[in-house]
Symmetry: C2
Subunit: 486 residues, 2 copies
């Protein structure tokens, strides 16, 4: 009765059920795993498996048949070797904060948790690098390296709860990506286990290196479909001497984007340029946030660097924002003021979740000059389909988190039409389906909107080169079709 | 008589001859190509083929059977489709300035020149990107984007003659990589043709994107073995407002590296940190360069940024260099002074070539803190084997160009022992065989020193996923053995 193990609590969007892993194979794998790893690392009780069933996307959680709590690379290798032998699907997971279903074991089988490997093994101040386990919580890494005067830039919204393993799998970004780039840009080397259980070290500890194919760059962002990371060497920067945050109110998104453009065109590189549309501003105001009544769009700008440089930048950014039509520009300089400001931004994801019974959070990217056009398009689509849609995100990168909200289950067909229209607009504007959340199960069916058959087939062949039996994180990235896995 | 087509003019190192492409197949492919592309694009005369036989490495040039002068993506697609059909090897090439044999058609067959696709198709100032053909000369791109107030950081030594297609194939770096990174860091998207002749667009125009596997990152640095690039979208920065170059003399390499370390540890990020050892200093002095008599090591430092920032950095860098034991620190501020200084550095490659009958230029990387140790190791190896060895390179990145020089053909076994010892030292110090030149044919036999069998086998499977018939740039990257291609 595989369907009985499906938990219905997601977005109300109809998701195709995946074929369930073969029960007899699962049983053989479970016995072998318990024998080799010990009973304490192999979880079989349904109540305990719930913690390994979902993520923070709208993908319905699915109970795995068992979970393995790996505490070492050897455990991961043993799990994959036995899963491969018995042909049982394995879904790797770290903190489960992903936004595209990547950690959901849609075919059942084994959920392989690497959260126990949470050691910061090394911080080398002189070489400016750290060696970390995949279960390290991002905030812990931030704190540890900052205490040494160093800096790890990626900062996804979930930084207090997400783990490095997930960040690597999804190539996590965050507001600071505008200046500093994303997780891939800071990953020097990886130790991974392939689907057959083979341990490989790819990449390097050095700043540069072109020996062989860049598997490190390929594996980052491969959503756990090619290999499981057991250790990462990440590049660090020096911690910036000073940081200042500005908040600018605008009477509308078009003004806001014009000001952003003026700032970027002048050669200034704030580390963050976040934009929030009118509905977001209303939502924050509804939560009691102290916002100017006239504000119908909001831009958060953050500059860092040497103290003198930051002061110069802050003055110039403020000037450009005002020239660009800002109603008001506020400056947060103390750490506490800055934290309050960012907290409001981070809460947005949760605030909007409370605005309706169901919510889908999208993560599209367009060339920056097309962002105002996309926001207008979002408004038109929402009006046409009668779906509440709001937008916020990383304006500097053209990366917009479009939220769709609805209360009535009957509205699902409208939501689906709106999503389809959104993705088509994004692709028509020269954009891409995902900026930082990944494709997972959430957007797999839309992949052919952006990529042709030839490109998708090539990626399937690459997947097969890593994982010939197709046991690793099946059901992710690729649209269903004649290539059924599980 | 395939061996008759081999040209002997290289490094005197014995290189294994590759099996030559099948003559009957080549003939069928040549006829089909001439029919579809026209005679003017298909070169068959040996005198004209010499220009497509070699690169700037020590790999002996090898005459291809024919060359195709592609002037469009369609030409490239036609060539690969027909080469695939007739199973004839294809070696893509752009300007042929590579340093590892990547563009040498070691099996004969078709040399596919993309140098005719030299159009800068677009410079989008607002999105800060350019769209370029693979035949664009790097210096032309630099000049064109700088005229628009923009900046493309990669700057390999050969920038006046190398082309973007080769830069992409080898993931070219250059002195500015310390601050700005390498070619991969600036490549947003690629249009490529696969071995079967299929045209694919990978990557994006947007700053961010995580849709599917990052084939762009994988293809950059894949040395023309996976696909042929026909168009690239590269990310640009704003041109820095000001640049200043400092030259610091030291009494030895250990002092020089200690000063470099003090500069980096203080949080300063010069865009370049170049180091030259005593033998290099002697060589430049021999060319009439005005160098302090006491100098036995030399560091070139370059800072850029806003005018005020650069002045602050220059003062601090100079101070740290002096504290670190610099005998003298000179500052070049005018463009002409700076150009003269860099010209001396760029000439080093040619100056050293004149120092002996044969030269091999290596390109190893170690963690920066191990660089002084590596330079010492190089000296010991040279003394032990009686081979002249000198070192210069990108100290900030730990990337050292080690040159081996000899006049007597009898010394070849010594040179081979010295090379082997060098690579073993590099790997033992936690380094990598190549920082920017690639593996090509020059270092293919050494790949197993750094990478295990499993990792090499995985890369061969990836190669097969792209190029199942093995026609694309055979003989490169992978060590010879049971997997013979051509």
């Amino acid at each position: 009765m595989p369907d009985a193990r499906r938990i219905h609590s997601g977005s109300a969007l109809p998701r195709e059920a995946f074929p369930r892993a073969d029960a007899a194979r699962v049983e053989r794998a479970a016995i072998a795993l318990a024998r080799e790893l010990g009973d304490s690392k192999v979880i079989l009780e349904p109540e305990a498996l719930v913690a390994h069933a979902g993520d923070e996307s709208e993908q319905d959680p699915v109970l795995p048949d068992l979970a393995v709590l790996a505490s070492s690379p050897e455990d991961v290798a043993t799990t994959l070797r036995l899963a491969s032998l018995h042909e049982v699907p394995v879904t790797p997971r770290a903190a489960g904060t992903g936004k595209s279903g990547g950690a959901v074991p849609v075919c059942g089988g084994i959920a392989l948790s690497v959260l126990g490997m949470r050691q910061i093994e090394e911080i080398d101040v002189r070489e400016q690098l750290a060696v970390v386990g995949p279960g390290v919580i991002l905030k812990d890494l931030h704190d540890a390296v900052e205490a040494e005067g160093l800096f790890y830039p990626p900062d996804p919204n979930s930084l207090a709860s997400c783990a490095l393993g997930g960040n690597l799998a999804e190539n996590a970004g965050g507001p600071r990506a505008f200046k500093y780039g994303v997780t891939r840009d800071y990953t020097l080397g990886l130790e991974v286990v392939t689907a057959s259980g083979e341990r490989l070290a790819v990449g390097r500890r050095t700043r540069k290196g072109v020996t062989g194919y860049d598997l490190t760059a390929l594996l980052v962002g491969s959503e756990g479909t090619l290999a499981v990371t057991t250790r990462a060497t990440v590049r660090l920067l020096r911690r910036p001497e000073a940081t200042v945050t500005l908040l600018a109110y605008f009477s509308g998104i078009v003004d806001a984007m014009r000001a952003v453009e003026a700032i970027v065109a002048s050669g200034l590189v704030p580390r963050c340029i976040e934009v929030l549309d009118e509905r977001c501003v209303t939502a924050i105001r509804g939560e009691g946030g102290p916002l100017d009544d006239r504000a119908a769009a909001l831009v958060i700008l953050e500059c860092d660097g040497s103290t003198s440089e930051v002061e110069r930048q802050m003055a110039e950014v403020g000037e450009r924002a005002t020239d660009g039509g800002a109603l008001e520009v506020l400056v947060a300089q103390s750490a506490a003021q800055r934290e309050r400001l960012w907290e409001a931004r981070r809460q947005l994801s949760y605030v909007t979740r409370r605005m309706a019974r169901w919510k889908i959070s999208e993560d599209v990217v367009v060339p920056r000059m097309q962002l105002a056009k996309l926001v207008g398009e979002v408004r038109r689509i929402g009006e046409r389909e009668g779906v509440t849609m709001l937008s916020y995100g990383h304006a500097g990168d053209g990366n917009l988190h479009v939220n769709l909200l609805w209360d009535d289950e009957e509205h699902v067909p409208r939501v689906e039409r709106a999503l389809d229209a959104l993705f088509r607009s994004v692709v028509a504007l020269g954009g891409t389906l995902s900026g930082e959340h990944g494709i997972g199960t959430s957007k797999a069916q839309y992949l052919p909107l952006e990529q042709g058959d030839g490109l998708i087939e090539l990626q399937r062949r690459m997947k097969a080169a890593f994982d010939p039996r197709g046991i690793l994180n099946p059901g992710k990235i690729f649209p269903r079709g004649r290539h059924r896995s599980c």
